[in-house]
């Protein structure tokens, strides 16, 4: 029977996995090494992705293959380069232009997304009818009361006095129940992640290694 040792890739993956797990005991050299390599490799990966998935297909290739049809791409090209002017003390202020456009554009996008994509539909979803069967009525009432009281809790420009005080208090209770529910909901998912990782170490690395060394 041919012995099949884990490949170099599996060795490396298992090594890094154990290095990171070692942090649970305490900070140590292995964790620090894995942490440094992780930072370097991941950053290098995003640099590679930027070239392979963005700059080459969406900027350089169109510009060099059909300049007449894609010359407007010179604008983001220039804005990208302008960012680097922050290293030229006398021209550093110009680099803020690119940042201003970037932040400005997404501010506009966010204004729309928040009001149109979140406020309007969430408000609509709360406009529930109370003329429903008793079983559904309780649920609808709980939702309506919850949304109203949580929103009242988030009032900042008026003191939480009078009827607003108990309303805001109920809002806080809603928030806490919800946080508890989300917490409980997430716990199980996180445990399954751990099981997945341990499965890799045992099945892909440890078991082939043991079989190769001790046979069986």
């Amino acid at each position: 029977m041919q012995l099949q040792l884990p490949g170099i890739g599996e060795w490396m993956a298992a090594f890094f996995t154990l290095c990171i797990f070692s942090f649970l005991y305490r900070d140590n050299v292995l964790y620090r090494l894995a942490e440094s390599i992780f930072a370097g490799v991941s950053f290098g990966y995003y640099i590679g992705l930027a070239r392979l998935n963005t700059l080459e297909p969406n900027l350089f290739r169109p510009l060099f293959s059909d300049f007449a049809g894609h010359w407007p791409l010179l604008i983001p090209f220039a804005l990208g380069l302008i960012l680097y002017l922050r290293y030229v003390p006398k021209a550093a202020w110009i680099s803020n232009w690119a940042l201003a456009i970037y932040i400005g554009y997404y501010i506009g996008v966010n204004l729309i997304q928040r009001l149109h994509g979140e406020v309007l539909p969430q408000a609509k979803g709360t406009m529930l009818s109370l003329q429903v069967p008793p079983g559904q009525l309780l649920g609808n009432l709980v939702i309506i009361l919850g949304v109203l009281t949580v929103l009242i809790y988030f009032f900042f420009s008026s003191p939480q006095r009078g009827p607003l005080k108990p309303a805001a208090r109920i809002g806080v209770y809603y928030l806490m129940i919800s946080f508890g529910a989300s917490f409980g909901y997430t716990v199980m998912g996180r445990i399954s992640l751990l099981i997945g990782r341990l499965t890799f170490v045992i099945h892909e690395w440890a078991r082939p290694l043991v079989r190769a060394v001790f046979g069986g």
């Binding site: 942490e35 970037y102 997404y106 709360t126 009818s129 109370l130 003329q131």
Partner: protein, 468 residues
């Protein structure tokens, strides 16, 4: 004659094709289509009537879809009338005598058509059959159910109508999307009547979709933007005129001074984590606002500040803000670029590195403010384990529970934005918080009104809030 019955001289006809070759052509087309002849033969009444449908008692109208970019047309018809006409036609089918009569009529018509017409139809039927089978294979268009009609379309230059959808006859409306602005389209609705006989509405006149001036369906969003803008700008102007704006204390804000004071006393650093999203996220911008305040305190007391970043543009903006704060406090010499540095763009690599910073440098205070995902727990638990004061804030509902359990103070959702504005001490920005509260009050009132109207059976008000 056939042309007149179809109501169109351009659709379905293949002018100029005559002679004995047509029979062979028809046969060939049928064979290529894989059973076109047998298909036509299996349903003789249905087979021949694609060119010669019986009128369906309903008027189909087509119009440009308002408020779109010129890519759709809207069909309307009297749904109740069409459904009744279809039901009546089906009723005929249940009557054996009527079915027989219809079949006989169809047969006679078939004879009347003549050899040329039949050959022509055979070619088209073969094409139709192939088309239907292809659609069936793709699973795109299931056969119409009871009470349903087919929507058929023919673009300029098309030789036949093609089925594009099946809709309930009673729907009364269908929007055909994804059209070309440069092409005209004609439509008809078809259904099956007695004996499977094809019934069709008269085709609509050709029409091309056109570009409209405004997306009227998004008027609700425009109204929300204008109202919110008016509230915010109005209260900013009031603040500018010196009007008093009250803003209540936000939990966690007092703790910022306390945390910086503690770090100063202990001679340890403050770690400020501005979330894991770029400056395209308002939560990051809110976090940078709070960073400005924290940096002023650290500049004033000479406390060490470290701001590790996951996004280079956030780093650039954070660096400017920290630098500005040190200058405003009169300690430009206290600012070093390395205080605000970059780590990596990956959330877990970032979390691993920040956890390392926490356990090695043991900062006295950790600020976790901004947009966070799963790493929120990794960071806040490590911070908790080193005994740092932790002030967190995010609007991510899924991460708030972990911050609430692991941090000393947590700014919940909107509190993060309000805290950022509050700490600026700028009356104009404070005015904007009051403006956003007016909007909130309006939303509350709208919800209450919506509940009352929905309970009363008036759905129109809630429908106005639909995001289109």
């Amino acid at each position: 004659m056939r042309v007149d019955r179809r109501g169109s001289g351009t659709i379905g006809r293949r002018p100029g094709r005559r002679g004995a070759a047509r029979g062979a052509l028809a046969l060939l087309a049928a064979l290529l289509a894989g059973g076109g002849l047998s298909g036509a033969g299996a349903a003789p009444a249905a087979g021949s009537d694609r060119e010669n449908p019986r009128p369906l008692a309903a008027t189909l109208a087509v119009a440009d879809t308002p408020a779109d970019g010129g890519s759709s047309l809207t069909l309307t018809w009297d749904g109740a009338r069409l459904a009744a006409a279809l039901a009546e036609a089906h009723g005929e089918a249940e009557d054996p005598a009527a079915a027989e009569e219809a079949a006989k009529e169809a047969a006679e018509e078939g004879v009347e058509e003549g050899a040329e017409e039949a050959a022509d139809e055979a070619v088209e039927e073969a094409a139709d059959a192939a088309e239907t089978r292809a659609a069936a294979r793709a699973g795109a268009l299931p056969a119409p159910g009871a009470g349903e009609v087919d929507v058929e379309r023919a673009a300029a230059g098309d030789t036949a109508f093609a089925r594009i959808a099946s809709v309930p006859a009673s729907a009364g409306r269908f929007v055909d999307e994804g059209l070309e602005r440069t092409t005209t389209y004609r439509y008809r609705l078809t259904g099956r009547g007695a004996g499977g006989r094809l019934l069709a509405t008269p085709p609509t006149p050709p029409l091309a979709p056109r570009v409209n001036a405004f997306r009227t369906r998004r008027l609700n969003a425009l109204a929300a933007m204008v109202f919110m803008g008016a509230c915010v700008v109005g209260l900013i102007l009031r603040a500018r005129r010196g009007g008093q704006i009250y803003i209540r204390r936000i939990s966690g804000l007092d703790a910022i001074d306390e945390a910086v004071g503690r770090a100063t006393e202990m001679g340890r650093k403050i770690l400020y984590i501005p979330g894991i999203i770029s400056v395209n996220e308002p939560q990051t911008l809110a976090s940078l606002g709070i960073l400005g305040y924290v940096a002023k305190l650290t500049a004033r007391y000479g406390t060490e500040l470290e701001v590790p970043n996951i996004d280079p543009l956030t780093m650039a903006a954070a660096r400017e803000i920290v630098k500005q704060s040190y200058m405003e406090e009169g300690h430009p010499e206290g600012f070093r670029e390395e205080m605000v540095h970059y780590i990596t763009g990956d959330q877990f690599a970032y979390a691993a590195a920040v956890n390392g910073i926490m356990v090695r440098d043991r900062p006295a205070a950790n600020f976790l403010l901004g947009w966070f995902a799963a790493e929120s727990l990794l960071l806040s638990e490590t911070g908790q384990s080193i005994g740092a004061i932790q002030i967190a804030g995010t609007a991510q509902v899924t991460q708030l529970p972990f911050f609430v359990s692991a941090c000393d103070y947590t700014m919940l959702g909107e509190e993060l934005f309000a805290a950022s504005a509050y700490l600026s001490r700028d009356p104009l920005i404070l005015g904007s918080i009051a403006g956003q509260d007016v909007m909130k009050a309006a939303i509350l009132a709208a919800i209450v009104l919506g509940v009352v109207l929905s309970t009363a059976g008036v759905a129109g008000f809630a429908a106005w809030f639909t995001a289109l």
